[in-house]
C-alpha cells in the first residue's frame, strides 16, 4: 500500500520541516544572522542542497531560502476518498525532509562544532566519540576513488538497530565481504548498529568501510551528501543540475537503505527522499511495500526481509552485481579489511617492520619448473612461535605463463600489499624489502598460518591476472639465512627494474595507452598514459596499462598509436589527437602532454594533484588532495579539482599524479628554454607534506638539473599562501623560475 507510505512520508515531511524551522528560529535568536554555517573542509557547502538547487549556504541567514523551498515542496495531505495521485507528492515530501535534515545537521554543528569527526578515518572510542558526521572532501575524494575504480561497488545505508549485536555484526560483515561501504545512522529506541558492532568487537571507521554517521535519522543525509559530492567531483556535474545529479546516482552509485526496526514517519520521509536518488529501502519489519519499478531501477520498498537474506536481497533489488571472492582460508577476506588495524593489544606476532627482515619478490619462472598452487613454508610457522614473537619472512612468488613477461613482475609484486591486507586480522605495510606483516590474535584463533598468505596470493593472482599467467607457486621463508639470501637477490632485481623504468622514455615507444577505468564514474574523461606521464590518479603507469590491455583486450586500457609528432616540446601527437577526438565524441580535438599553459591534458576528479600557474611568480604551484589548506592560487585542492575536473582542458591548470612531478617530461613545454627537460624548475610552491613525501626523487632530479638544493627554494604553506609571500621567498632564495621567460608570455 503505497498510499500508507505516502501518508506517512508526507506526515514525516511536515514534522521534520516544522521542527527544523523551529530550530532555525531558535538559532537566529542565539546567533547573528551572518554567522558562518556549514560542514567542515568541503567546497560543496551543504552538499545535498547545493548539488540539487545550486544554493550555497555559508551563513545562518542563507538557510532561509532552502527552508522556504522545502516548505514549498511539501504537498497537500492525502484525502481519504478520491485522493489525488500521490507518487509525485511522496517524492517531493521526501526531498523536503532531506533538505530539512541537512539544515538540521548544519545547525547541530553550529551549536556544537565538535559533535562529529569529519576529518578522521577512525572513531575515537577512548573519548567516546563514535559519530563521524559529514566526511570532509579529503576523505570523500580518497574514498570516492574506490567507487570510481570499482573496488567499492556501492554502499548500504543502514538505519536503526538490529535485534542484537550478533545480527548486526553478521549483516555488516556480509556487506564487507561484498566490498560495499556501510553507512550507519539513526537509532531504534536508543540502540544503534554502530554501538552493537562495538559491542561485538567489530572495528568501525572509514578504514573498515563501516562508517557511523550519527545517532539521529537526520545524519543519514551525510550518505546522500557523499553520493552527490561524488557526482559533482567525479561525474563533473554542475551544481543545480538536479536531473543529472540524480540520474548519475541512479545509474552509477549502487546504494540502498536497510531499515532495521520500526519505521516511523520521519524515516518514511527519508526513505521517500532516497527514492529520488534511485536508492530503494529494504526493511526487516512488515511495512507497506512499493514493488512496481521505475523511479528506482527495481522495487522501491521491500518489507519483511530476514536478516540472513538482507544483503543478498538488497543488492538484487538495487540491481547490483558483486563478485565475492571465496578463498579457502580460515579468515574473512576482502577490500573492506584492507584498512583494518592490528592494535598492540591484539597483536599475536609480526614479521619485518624493523624488528626482522621481511622481503617480497615476484619472479617469472619456466613452466616446467614450478607447480601451480604449491605453497611451501620453509622454516617455522605461526603455530611454532609464541604470542609476541617475531619471525623474518621472505615471500617468494614464482609465476609462469605463455603470456607472461618480466615487465609484469613488479605489477604483480605490488599486489602483495593489498592482497595480504584483505585478510581479516592481518595487516600489511610497505613493500619490497621494507615490508611488515602484523598478525592479530583473532586471526590466529581462527587458525590463520603463514600458508594462508600463499593461498591468497595464488588464488587472487589467478583470478585477477588469469589471462597472463598459468602457474603460481609461493614459497615462504622464515629462516634468517634464507630470508637474507632472498633479500640480497631481490635488491639486485629491484635495482635493475628501477633502472629499466627510470630509463623508459616516451620517445622509446610507439604506443601509448588510453585509460577509461574511471568512466564508470567520470563518463567524460579519457586519460592518455605514456611512460613519462603516468595516469593523473597515480594508480596507473604505462606498464600497468600495458599489462591491463594484455589481460583484458577490450577493457578500459586501449593502445593508441601515437603517430606523427606534432609538437615535441609540448607533447602532441596526431594519433593521440584522433583518439581523443573520437573518445570525447568530438568534444576535444587535441591536447598537450607536457604543458600546463597551452591546451593541457584534460583532468578528472580523481587526480592526485592539481597544478596551477602563478603568473606573478612566473611559475607553477601544485597541491595534493590530502592537503586541506589554502594555496597561493586562491583555491583549495577540492575547489580546484571541482573547477577543472569535469573532463575539460583548462589552460593554466592541470591534474597530475604525485609521481609525475619528478618525471622528466613534467611540464617541460613550459620550462626554461635552455633546458630540454626542466619543467620541474617552474615549481614554486607545494604543500610541505608533499615536499616531504617526494623529497628523494625531487633531489635526484634537481641534481640532474644542476640545482641540488632546488627543493629548499620551493615555498610551502609555512612560507605563505599568497603569491606576494611566495614571491618574496622566491627572491630571497633565488628561485630559478624568476630568471625564465614569462610563463604566460609570447
Amino acid at each position: 500500500m503505497s498510499r500508507l507510505v505516502a501518508f506517512a512520508a508526507i506526515q514525516g515531511g511536515y514534522n521534520v520541516v516544522s521542527k527544523v524551522e523551529g530550530e532555525y528560529q531558535q538559532a537566529l535568536e542565539t546567533f547573528e544572522a551572518g554567522t558562518k554555517v556549514g560542514f567542515p573542509n568541503t567546497a560543496y557547502y551543504l552538499p545535498v542542497i547545493y548539488s540539487l538547487t545550486g544554493i550555497k549556504i555559508e551563513t545562518l541567514e542563507d538557510m532561509q531560502k532552502p527552508l522556504d523551498f522545502a516548505k514549498k515542496l511539501l504537498p497537500p495531505h492525502i484525502k481519504g476518498k478520491n485522493h489525488l495521485p500521490y507518487l509525485g507528492s511522496l517524492l517531493d515530501a521526501g526531498m523536503a525532509t532531506l533538505f530539512a535534515f541537512e539544515l538540521q545537521e548544519a545547525l547541530k554543528i553550529l551549536k556544537n562544532p565538535d559533535v562529529y569527526l569529519p576529518s578522521a578515518e577512525e572513531i575515537d572510542e577512548d573519548s567516546g566519540k563514535v559519530w563521524m558526521g559529514p566526511a570532509d572532501d579529503v576523505i570523500m575524494r580518497k574514498r570516492g576513488v574506490e567507487f570510481v575504480d570499482g573496488s567499492a561497488p556501492g554502499f548500504a545505508a543502514i538505519v536503526g538497530a538490529a535485534p542484537d549485536a550478533e545480527t548486526a555484526k553478521a549483516l555488516v560483515e556480509d556487506y564487507q565481504r561484498k566490498n560495499l561501504y556501510i553507512f550507519l545512522a539513526a537509532n531504534q529506541n536508543g540502540t544503534t548498529v554502530a554501538e552493537q558492532l562495538l559491542e561485538a568487537d567489530v572495528q568501525i571507521g572509514w578504514n573498515t568501510r563501516i562508517v557511523p554517521f550519527g545517532r539521529e535519522i537526520s545524519s543519514a543525509i551525510f550518505a546522500l551528501g557523499f553520493a552527490n559530492r561524488a557526482a559533482m567531483a567525479f561525474g563533473g556535474i554542475e551544481p543545480g543540475d538536479y536531473k543529472r545529479i540524480l540520474k548519475y546516482n541512479k545509474d552509477r552509485i549502487f546504494a540502498f537503505v536497510n531499515a532495521l526496526g520500526d519505521v516511523n514517519a520521519e524515516w518514511a520521509g527519508a526513505a521517500a527522499g532516497c527514492v529520488n536518488w534511485g536508492f530503494p529501502t529494504i526493511a526487516d519489519t512488515d511495512i507497506p511495500e512499493i514493488l512496481p519499478t521505475g523511479v528506482c531501477t527495481y522495487e522501491h520498498v521491500v518489507a519483511n526481509v530476514p536478516h540472513n537474506e538482507m544483503s543478498q536481497r538488497s543488492i538484487e533489488i538495487r540491481g547490483l552485481k558483486v563478485q565475492v571472492t571465496e578463498i579457502d582460508i580460515p579468515c574473512a577476506f576482502g577490500p573492506a579489511y584492507e584498512g583494518e588495524r592490528i592494535r598492540k593489544a591484539d597483536l599475536h606476532s609480526q614479521m619485518g617492520g624493523g624488528k626482522t627482515q621481511c622481503t617480497e619478490l615476484v619472479k617469472m619462472a619456466d613452466m616446467n619448473d614450478i607447480e601451480d598452487g604449491k605453497v611451501e613454508i620453509v622454516g617455522p610457522n605461526i603455530g611454532d612461535i609464541k604470542e609476541g614473537d617475531t619471525l623474518p619472512l621472505g615471500i617468494y612468488v614464482q609465476i609462469a605463463g605463455r603470456e607472461f613477461q618480466d615487465d609484469f613482475e613488479p605489477i604483480l609484486e605490488r599486489q602483495i600489499h593489498h592482497l595480504v591486507n584483505y585478510i581479516q586480522g592481518v595487516m600489511h605495510i610497505g613493500q619490497r624489502d621494507i615490508s611488515w606483516v602484523r598478525v592479530g590474535k583473532p586471526a590466529v584463533e581462527k587458525g590463520f598460518t603463514l600458508k594462508d598468505i600463499g593461498v591468497v596470493l595464488h588464488a587472487k593472482m589467478h583470478q585477477d591476472f588469469g589471462k597472463i599467467l598459468d602457474k603460481v607457486q609461493v614459497t615462504l621463508y622464515t629462516k634468517q639465512k634464507d630470508v637474507d639470501e632472498l633479500t640480497k637477490r631481490a635488491r639486485a632485481e629491484y635495482k635493475q627494474r628501477d633502472e629499466r623504468v627510470e630509463n623508459m622514455r616516451d620517445e622509446d615507444v610507439e604506443t601509448y595507452y588510453s585509460c577509461t577505468l574511471c568512466q564508470s564514474f567520470a563518463p567524460n574523461h579519457v586519460c592518455t598514459v605514456s611512460p613519462e606521464r603516468t595516469g593523473l590518479c597515480g594508480a596507473y603507469n604505462w606498464m600497468d596499462c600495458k599489462a591491463s590491455f594484455e589481460i583484458n583486450p577490450t577493457g578500459p586500457n586501449q593502445p593508441i598509436e601515437k603517430g606523427e609528432c606534432l609538437d615535441k616540446d609540448l607533447g602532441q601527437w596526431k594519433g593521440v589527437n584522433e583518439f581523443i577526438y573520437n573518445a570525447s565524441k568530438g568534444g576535444i580535438d587535441h591536447y598537450n602532454f607536457y604543458s600546463i599553459v597551452f591546451d593541457p591534458m584534460t583532468t578528472c576528479g580523481c587526480c592526485e594533484c592539481v597544478a596551477a600557474v602563478l603568473p606573478s611568480c612566473n611559475g607553477v604551484m601544485t597541491v595534493n588532495r590530502d592537503y586541506q589548506g589554502e594555496t597561493p592560487c586562491g583555491m583549495t585542492f577540492t575547489t580546484l579539482a571541482g573547477t577543472i575536473g569535469g573532463g575539460a582542458s583548462t589552460p593554466g591548470f592541470v591534474g597530475h599524479s604525485k609521481f609525475n612531478i619528478t618525471q622528466r617530461k613534467f611540464i617541460r613545454g613550459d620550462g626554461p628554454k635552455d633546458k630540454e627537460e626542466g619543467g620541474l624548475l617552474r615549481m614554486v610552491w607545494m604543500p610541505k607534506m608533499l615536499k616531504e613525501e617526494i623529497k628523494d626523487r625531487v633531489d635526484s632530479r634537481a641534481k640532474e638539473l644542476g640545482i641540488p638544493d632546488f627543493l629548499d627554494r620551493v615555498a610551502d604553506e609555512t612560507v605563505g599562501t599568497t603569491e606576494a609571500e611566495v614571491m618574496e621567498f622566491l627572491k630571497k632564495k633565488k628561485h630559478p623560475a624568476l630568471d625564465m621567460d614569462p610563463i604566460m608570455g609570447s
Partner: protein, 666 residues
C-alpha cells in the same frame, strides 16, 4: 448481458432500437440513469429529442456505406455496396474514388473545425500579448517557455512578452504557411517524422492542406484513392499536430495547465434553488468569462434578490471538459445529455459556442422556457437568441446571459425535476502533470510508465475518446470497453464525451483500480492514480499525441509511435471531427478502432487501404467493431502484437550491473 456480448454484425447497431414498438425504451437507449430519467420525462411531457429521431429515422444505407457521390449534377450517383465494382458513376468514378473523396471531405470538415478553433485561440493570444485584450492574460508562463523551447524559440533572458510574440508568429505558420513543415513537427519522434517525409504527408499549413483537400475532391480532379488518402492523412495531421495542438497549448498558456482536481459530473450538479447556467461547446474563452460573470458580486446579489441561493455554473460537452480539468467546474453531461438536461426544467440558460450543438436544443429549450443563447458568429440557430461574444469585451455577453438567466429563474414556470445523481472523479491529467506524477519535482519523467509497460504490469496504453451517439446505447459501449481494457491491464487515457461517460460510471476514481488487472492495479496504487486518466476535451487529444511522443522519447518501447503497444478507439463516434481525429491517430502510427458504423464499403481497395495498407506503409491502421468487448480484445490483440515485436512479451530478466556495465553507460 450475454446477448449484449454477442458479436453484432456491422451496422446492426443502426437499427438496434426496437422498431416494433412505437417509442423507444429509454432503458435501452442509455445506461446514464439521469439521462434515462429525463428521457422518460420527455416521453411523459411529449417532448422530442435526438433519441426519438434516431428511433424514427433509419440511417441512409447508401450514405452509411459511402456509396454515393453528389459532387456534381451529372449525379448524384449511387453504387451498389453489395457489388461494389459492378458499376461506376456517370463520370466513371469508382467506388474507391467515391469513398476516398467522401472520407477526405469528412477529414477536411473535422480538421477545419479544430483548426478554426485553434486559430481563434491564437487570435485571442495575439491580442492578449499586444495588450488589446485585457480580460485574459498569460496565466502559465512556465508552459509558455516550454512550448516555445519545444519549437526552438530562444527563451533565456527574455521577457514573457517577447517570447509570447515570437511564439505567436511561429504558431501562426501552423495555419498560414504555404511551404515547409508546421512548427510542431519538431515534437514528432524522429522515426515517425521520417516515415511522413517519405510518404510526403508532412503538413505545410492547415489552410493550404484543407484547401487542397477540397480542391482535390472536386469533380474531376484526384481520382486515385491512394493519392487522395495521402492528402487526407496530411490534412488530418495538420489538425492533430497543428490546429488542435495549438488550441490545447494556447489554452493552457492563457488559462493554466491542468493538474488533477476532484470534481463532480452528472445532472445532479444542477441546483434547484440556484440560477443554473450551462455552457456547452468547445472554446474555453466563453466559459472562462462566464466563470467571472457568475462570481461578479453584483450579479450574485441580483440572483439572491431574485430568490436564488446563488448562481450555479456547469459545463457540458468539451468546453465543459476543459473547465472540469482546469478549475473543477462541475460537468452536467456529455453530448447525448444536452437535450435531456433541458428537460429538468432547471436550466435557466444554456450558452453555446461552436461544434456539436444540436439544432434540436432550441425546441426543447422552448418547451421548458429555458434560454438557449448562441454566442459565436459562426454558429447561429434559428429559434435561439444570439448574444455575440466579443473577446475584446467578453463580459458584455456573459453578463447578459447571467442577467437573463436570473430573470428566467425568477419566472420559472416549468416543474423542476433534477436527477439526484452526482459522480465524483479525478480529472485534469495534462502531459506535464503525468510527468510530475511519475517522478515528482526532481525526477519527473515518463520512464516509470515505460518501465512498467516493459515489465508487463501495464500491458499497453489505450486512448478512448470521442462522441456519444443515439444509434447505440448511450455510454454503454464506452464504459464496457474501458472496463474490459483495464481488466486486461491496459491503461486508458480519455478525452471529451467518452471521459464523461466513464466519470459517470465511477471509473475516474482511484478506487476504480479494483476493477483493473493485478498489474495495472498495482501501478495505480503506487502512483495513486485512477486506471482511467481524463485529459480534457476533444482538441486535447493532442495531449495524447504529446504523451505518446514522450513515451517514445523515454525509451525502451521502440523508436516511433507506431512501435508502441498502444491503441485508440472512438466507440460511439458521430462527428466528422472524430474521423479527422481517427485519421491523425492512424497517420501518427496508432491502431484506431471505431464503433457504431464506418463509412466504407466492404471488400473494396479503399477499405483495405485504411484497414491494412496504411500499417504496411509504417502508419497505424483503422478497424471497426460494434461490440465493446470485441473492440477491447481487438485493441489488446494489437497491443500484444506490438509487445511481441518489441520483445517484451516475455518476463523481464533482472539485470545486475557490474562495474564494466557501468563503464559502458552513455
Amino acid at each position: 448481458m450475454a446477448e449484449d456480448k454477442k458479436v453484432e454484425k456491422k451496422k446492426a447497431a443502426v437499427t438496434k432500437l426496437d422498431k416494433a414498438k412505437k417509442a423507444y425504451d429509454p432503458k435501452e437507449a442509455t445506461i446514464c440513469e439521469a439521462t434515462r430519467q429525463m428521457l422518460e420525462k420527455s416521453q411523459r411531457d411529449g417532448v422530442e429529442t435526438a433519441y426519438d429521431r434516431a428511433f424514427d429515422m433509419k440511417a441512409c444505407p447508401i450514405g452509411a456505406d459511402s456509396a454515393c457521390c453528389k459532387h456534381c449534377s451529372m449525379g448524384p450517383c449511387r453504387l451498389n455496396a453489395k457489388d461494389p465494382y459492378g458499376k461506376v458513376g456517370v463520370c466513371g468514378a469508382t467506388i474507391d474514388t467515391f469513398q476516398a473523396r467522401n472520407f477526405a471531405r469528412m477529414v477536411a470538415a473535422g480538421a477545419a473545425a479544430h483548426t478554426d478553433h485553434g486559430m481563434s485561440m491564437l487570435d485571442v493570444f495575439r491580442e492578449v500579448v499586444k495588450g488589446e485584450i485585457k480580460d485574459y492574460k498569460i496565466k502559465d508562463p512556465v508552459k509558455l517557455e516550454s512550448v516555445a523551447q519545444s519549437i526552438g524559440i530562444e527563451t533565456e533572458d527574455r521577457t514573457v512578452g517577447e517570447i509570447a510574440m515570437d511564439l505567436y508568429e511561429e504558431l501562426e505558420r501552423t495555419y498560414t504557411q504555404v511551404e515547409g513543415e508546421i512548427p510542431f513537427m519538431k515534437r514528432v519522434p524522429e522515426k515517425t517524422l521520417e516515415t511522413w517525409r517519405k510518404l510526403g504527408i508532412v503538413p505545410r499549413g492547415s489552410m493550404r492542406e484543407i484547401m487542397e483537400m477540397m480542391h482535390r475532391t472536386h469533380m474531376g480532379v484526384d481520382q486515385h484513392y491512394e493519392n487522395i488518402a495521402r492528402q487526407f492523412s496530411r490534412t488530418a495531421l495538420s489538425d492533430g499536430w497543428g490546429g488542435s495542438m495549438v488550441a490545447t497549448e494556447i489554452s493552457d498558456i492563457l488559462f493554466g495547465t491542468p493538474t488533477p482536481v476532484q470534481a463532480d459530473v452528472n445532472m445532479g450538479c444542477l441546483k434547484e434553488d440556484m440560477v443554473n447556467i450551462i455552457v456547452h461547446g468547445h472554446e474555453p474563452n466563453l466559459f472562462e468569462t462566464m466563470l467571472v460573470s457568475v462570481n461578479d458580486p453584483a450579479l450574485v446579489e441580483s440572483a439572491k434578490e431574485a430568490g436564488a441561493k446563488g448562481i450555479n455554473l456547469c459545463g457540458m460537452c468539451c468546453s465543459g471538459a476543459e473547465m472540469l480539468s482546469r478549475h473543477g467546474i462541475p460537468h452536467a453531461g456529455n453530448f447525448m445529455s444536452t437535450e435531456p438536461i433541458l428537460i429538468t426544467g432547471a436550466v435557466d440558460a444554456m450558452a453555446v459556442d461552436v461544434q456539436c450543438i444540436k439544432q434540436g436544443l432550441a425546441s426543447v429549450a422552448k418547451c421548458y422556457g429555458s434560454y438557449l443563447f448562441t454566442t459565436n458568429p459562426r454558429c447561429h440557430i434559428e429559434g435561439a437568441e444570439h448574444i455575440e461574444f466579443v473577446e475584446h469585451d467578453p463580459k458584455a455577453c456573459t453578463d447578459e446571459v447571467v442577467v437573463k438567466a436570473i430573470a428566467r429563474f425568477k419566472n420559472r414556470t416549468a416543474k423542476v425535476e433534477i436527477p439526484n445523481i452526482k459522480n465524483a472523479g479525478i480529472h485534469g491529467f495534462s502531459h506535464e502533470y503525468i510527468e510530475y506524477m511519475l517522478g515528482g519535482t526532481f525526477r519527473a519523467s515518463y520512464w516509470p510508465l515505460n518501465d512498467n509497460i516493459i515489465n508487463g504490469r501495464i500491458r499497453g496504453i489505450a486512448g478512448v475518446v470521442g462522441c456519444t451517439n443515439p444509434r447505440v446505447k448511450h455510454d454503454w459501449v464506452h464504459v464496457e470497453m474501458v472496463k474490459e481494457l483495464i481488466k486486461n491491464d491496459v491503461l486508458v487515457l480519455q478525452t471529451g464525451c467518452s471521459q464523461i461517460s466513464l466519470a459517470k460510471a465511477g471509473l475516474l476514481t482511484p478506487d476504480a483500480a479494483y476493477m483493473a488487472g493485478d498489474g495495472l492495479a498495482e501501478v495505480c496504487e503506487t502512483v495513486g492514480m485512477p486506471p482511467v486518466l481524463g485529459l480534457g476535451s476533444c482538441v486535447d487529444n493532442s495531449r495524447i499525441l504529446i504523451a505518446a511522443s514522450a513515451v517514445v522519447k523515454a525509451g525502451g518501447l521502440g523508436e516511433s509511435i507506431a512501435d508502441l503497444p498502444a491503441a485508440g478507439a472512438a466507440p460511439e463516434w458521430m462527428s466528422e471531427k472524430a474521423i479527422s481525429i481517427g485519421q491523425y491517430f492512424v497517420a501518427s502510427g496508432v491502431y484506431t478502432i471505431f464503433g457504431v458504423t464506418f463509412p466504407v464499403t466492404d471488400q473494396t481497395k479503399f477499405k483495405n487501404l485504411l484497414f491494412q495498407g496504411m500499417e504496411d506503409q509504417g502508419l497505424g491502421k483503422w478497424d471497426f467493431a460494434v461490440d465493446p468487448y470485441e473492440m477491447a480484445h481487438k485493441m489488446i490483440a494489437h497491443i500484444d502484437k506490438k509487445r511481441s515485436a518489441l520483445g517484451i512479451d516475455k518476463a523481464r530478466e533482472r539485470v545486475l550491473m557490474s562495474m564494466d556495465d557501468r563503464r559502458t553507460l552513455e
